[in-house]
Amino acid sequence: MVDRNIILIARTMNEEKISANVPTKYIFHWAELVKKEAKLLGLKVIDLKNENFTEENMKKMIEEFDPYIIFLNGHGTEYSIKGKDDKTDVIIRCKNDHLFKDRIVYALSCKTSRILGKSAYNKGCKCYIGYKEELIFPTQQFENVLDDFVSEPFMKVSNEIVITLIKTGSPHEAIQNFHKLSDELINYWEKQTKPESLFIQKYLKLMKKIIYASIPLE
């Protein structure tokens, strides 16, 4: 029986080649805010960071703690999600995606909802939320990620998914809130005259287009 009071977060930020990994650095820090919010809401958080984001640890933690929500951050392909070193597969289609059975998964990764997400759903994953295409967002490459107003809207809409899942347990509401907040932010940035606003709205629209959720009929 899955435990609705537990969330597993997995994320990586390869410090050795950080200059090439600004995107993972950004999403690593975005996930920190989700972790804080989850704790505030009384959930137990399992946080698999960097070298701990491995296939073995994922299996161990899922089997031991039985988390209802799994939030994955890192590189992805149609078939897998990569962990600690950005190269090693951690969750692989038809190898260990059965671990997602009865759970809700949100993967902030490129392309995984195309095949991996569908495969996991076919094996009983309650809902797999991910992206169909390359995930692209504009950034200013700031040292302090949370100071970057250009990427902030992307953090907000992504985190909205997980925070709604934590609060309601409903993938339907999570997707609805994602689209609602995205529309609000697109609307806001359409009215701004800053040179960055065009890129923010353009890529928010893209994010809305490429999100995909395998959702059961309720």
Binding site: E134, L135, V150, F199
Partner: protein, 75 residues
């Protein structure tokens, strides 16, 4: 892509003139912005190079730009 080479995406030929317009628009991109594609960071110069070179990521960015302007026309 050389100046005269066409870009073909999913079997569809992208008119050279449209590519030129998009490249000009991208050239006006604020210098403080880069695009984070999970795995790499693309500066304005990188993006232009990827599009001109006809790489997969260049084609994806080009498609995003085309879709954006199609949406603008529709709305």
């Amino acid at each position: 892509m050389s100046e005269n080479k066409e870009i073909i995406i999913n079997g569809e030929k992208i008119p050279k003139e449209l590519v030129e317009i998009i490249l000009k628009r991208l050239n006006a991109m604020p210098p403080n912005i880069s695009l984070a594609v999970l795995g790499k960071i693309l500066t304005k110069e990188d993006i232009m190079k990827e599009i001109k070179g006809g790489s997969n990521i260049g084609k994806e960015i080009l498609l995003i730009e085309i879709e954006y302007y199609k949406d603008l026309v529709r709305s």
